[in-house]
């Protein structure tokens, strides 16, 4: 018979008190586990979500807002940048420095799932988690010509019950979160496979169709129109390829007198002016929320300078999502984690003191039992060790219970966490730091078990035996 068994039997004898003290320890440990795992998963998810492209180019303003909005679909919509700024990355001055530039337009939703207008390259050229190609569970990607084609993320498909062939109408969302208009219906062409990224919870529509909605274009300032008319003048090869694509687009903004005046002044030809106006409206009044940029790895120097060049200009800012997330995690989330961890550790210590009180209070009832063991030949040290073992068993038992509770809690809350934040949390997500709990609990148990162990050590055998005769 081992001393562990002796300690275990003592625990069994005081089953209720032991269970309650172990449970209180379990709650503390569950809290520690929950904090550790949730932070770790949040951190990983944030870092993973920001992989697959090097830069996000968006409107000047908060970097974190831009990243949270464009990568994680969180927070209020940010301001937009002109569509032609996006074109700087595809056919303009930044073209040589980038491998891919994917425009996205935010601000729409369908049944709670964010709707993102983008281009087919989103799934052809970008890789999620930095290395995996997007694959489809059903159907496939939409094409450029399929203006009202859409692709639905794995989780969004589950949530909205959209499947290939279904049509839906994205609803525009105002900054205050209310629906402000409805668009033309889009048709689901494909359902993405699970990626473990925020994209799982989103629906992606063809940007061409998005821009066909009059609400998604807005008049430019007269000065800008003048610039645009210059760019779109006949003979300018930069834009001619896109004209045909715009013919189907609804005409909007032609009733803007200031625009007409600018056009007339520029060309002097009402007919030509009308054509230019139409073209300018369809091509250049468009805006995008952000551009996801993959830099050209073969030209690292150009890529390195790209962010600097963009940020030096007045039109937009370029942020490195990985760095922004890293700063965010260390400065904000890291401090919250530390604070929660301190509270959780305090709960564990309080639970440890509970174990000490429980064992110490049991000493008066157990003096006789201890005296009997001493009379049978148990040394003071053996008695002390048995009490310490009892404390360790209670703490570790509570610890194991806490780990199970903590992970159970995480598992139970994971759907809600995913719904609310897009962060995937699994009940089986273990963190190596949890292993520290074992030696930590043993040290705590030894510390809190010391006082009752000393009380047991000092038991007067003869007196305790005589008292019960």
């Amino acid at each position: 018979m081992s001393l562990w068994k002796v300690a275990w039997r003592s625990i069994q004898q005081r089953a209720l008190a032991s269970a309650l003290t172990a449970f209180s320890m379990g709650l503390g440990v569950a809290l520690v586990v929950a904090v550790l795992v949730i932070y770790s998963v949040v951190e990983k998810s944030f870092r993973r979500g920001a992989q697959g492209y090097d830069l996000i180019v968006g409107a000047k303003g908060g970097k974190l807002e831009l990243v949270l909005n464009t990568v994680f679909y969180l927070g209020a919509p940010v301001h937009n940048i002109p569509y032609d700024y996006y074109e700087e990355f595809t056919i303009g001055r930044f073209e040589t420095a980038v491998e891919a530039a994917i425009p996205i337009c935010m601000g729409h939703a369908y049944k709670g799932a964010p709707v993102v207008a983008t281009v087919p390259e989103m799934f052809d050229k970008l890789k999620y988690l930095g290395e995996y190609k997007y694959e489809f569970l059903e159907g496939g990607n939409f094409t450029y010509d399929d203006h009202y084609g859409a692709v639905v993320g794995w989780e969004a498909a589950r949530k909205t019950e959209l499947k290939v062939g279904d049509t839906f109408q994205p609803v525009g969302v105002s900054p205050d979160g209310t629906a402000d208009h409805e668009d033309e219906p889009f048709t689901i062409r494909g359902v993405l496979k699970y990626t473990g990224t925020p994209n799982d919870s989103a629906i992606f529509i063809n940007m061409e169709g998005f821009f066909l909605c009059p609400a998604h274009t807005k008049p430019d300032s007269p000065a800008k129109r003048l610039l645009q008319l210059d760019k779109t003048a006949p003979g300018n090869p930069e834009k001619t390829g896109n004209v045909g694509a715009d013919e189907d687009a609804p005409e909007a903004g032609s009733d803007d007198p200031s625009a007409q005046q600018v056009a007339e002044e520029h060309t002097g030809d009402p007919q030509q002016q009308s054509g230019h106006e139409k073209h300018a409206h369809h091509e250049h009044h468009k805006e995008v929320t952000a551009v996801l940029v993959c830099t050209d790895m073969e030209r690292p120097q150009l890529a390195m300078n790209l962010a600097e060049v963009v940020n030096e200009g007045q039109d937009a800012q370029a942020v490195k999502p990985a760095r922004v997330i890293s700063n965010f995690l260390s400065s904000v989330v890291g401090n919250i984690e530390l604070m929660l961890l301190v509270i959780a550790v305090l709960v564990v210590i309080v639970a440890g003191i509970g174990i000490m009180v429980s064992i110490y209070n049991s000493m008066s009832d157990r003096r006789h039992e201890i005296a009997v063991m001493r009379a049978l030949g148990a040394s003071r040290w053996i008695i002390m060790v048995v009490i310490l073992m009892e404390s360790i068993l209670l703490s570790l038992g509570g610890g194991v219970l806490g780990v199970l509770l903590g992970h159970g809690l995480i598992g139970a809350l994971s759907p809600t966490i995913y719904e609310e934040t897009g962060v995937v949390v699994s009940a089986l997500e273990f963190k190596w730091v949890e292993l520290i709990l074992i030696p930590g609990l043993i040290i705590l148990a030894t510390a809190v078990g010391y006082l009752p162990a000393v009380a047991a050590y000092q038991t007067d055998v003869a007196k305790s035996l005589t008292a019960t005769q």
């Binding site: 018979m1 009997v372 009379a375 003071r380 035996l465």
Partner: protein, 223 residues
């Protein structure tokens, strides 16, 4: 086998004075001998047993058990010696209620520092008629059965001496003789010296040697 020479023991009183309990010039028990130790309540019988077992240290004098001078041993040596050489049967059985009958016997073996001999523990319990109740815990057993477990436990480590402090005091008359017979037979089989403390004349009369503590304890003789 057991020899006490000039053993004195006293306890401090709350007023600072000292209350003498034992003053025994000489006391001997031979190997395998059985004897009854009698005397009025409070005359120091339990203190004497505690002193022999090394649970209490005498203020002076020598206590030799099986040629080992236990007054010269350290406390831990004394604990180990007690576990290996002395069996103890208590008036209130003092079985550990959280343990089964078998575990109570095995626990006594554990404190010798040697690996518990499960076969011997089973054999002893069968010997006292509890072969079918080894996995039962004390609260599930009758008082007679509990005292039989206590007898088996006292013999677990093949001791040289068994000290029984009022072993039949809490047992109904019908079972008293049964337990006493069992204790004596078991000690005979194992050639163990037995000292039974009792203030029941019917119990003491069964032994060839009956010592009255009040007669050889000089503290009491003076009173």
């Amino acid at each position: 086998m057991l020899e006490l020479i000039n053993v004195k023991k006293s306890y401090p009183e709350p007023d600072g004075s000292v209350l003498p309990i034992l003053n025994i010039p000489e006391f001997e028990v031979a190997a395998g001998e059985e004897m009854a130790l009698v005397g009025r309540s409070g005359c120091g019988k339990s203190t004497l047993l505690h002193t022999i077992a090394g649970i209490s240290r005498p203020d002076s004098g020598n206590v030799r058990v099986d040629d080992w001078e236990i007054t010269l041993m350290s406390e831990s040596e004394c604990d180990r010696f007690r576990a290996q050489r002395i069996g103890y049967v208590f008036q209130t059985f003092n079985l550990l209620s959280g343990f089964t009958a078998l575990e109570n016997v095995l626990l006594a073996m554990r404190f010798t520092g040697r690996r518990p001999n499960r076969d011997r523990a089973r054999h002893l319990l069968e010997r006292v008629g509890l072969g079918e109740r080894m996995t039962h815990r004390p609260p599930m057993m009758s008082v007679g059965e509990q005292q039989r477990v206590a007898v088996a436990r006292a013999l677990a480590n093949q001791p040289k001496l068994v000290l029984a402090d009022e072993p039949t005091a809490n047992i109904d008359t019908g079972h008293q003789q049964q337990v006493l017979d069992l204790l004596r037979e078991s000690c005979r089989e194992e050639n163990v010296a037995l000292i039974v403390v009792s203030h029941t004349p019917q119990v003491a009369e069964q032994f060839d040697r009956i010592d009255n503590l009040e007669e050889f304890n000089r503290v009491r003789a003076k009173k």
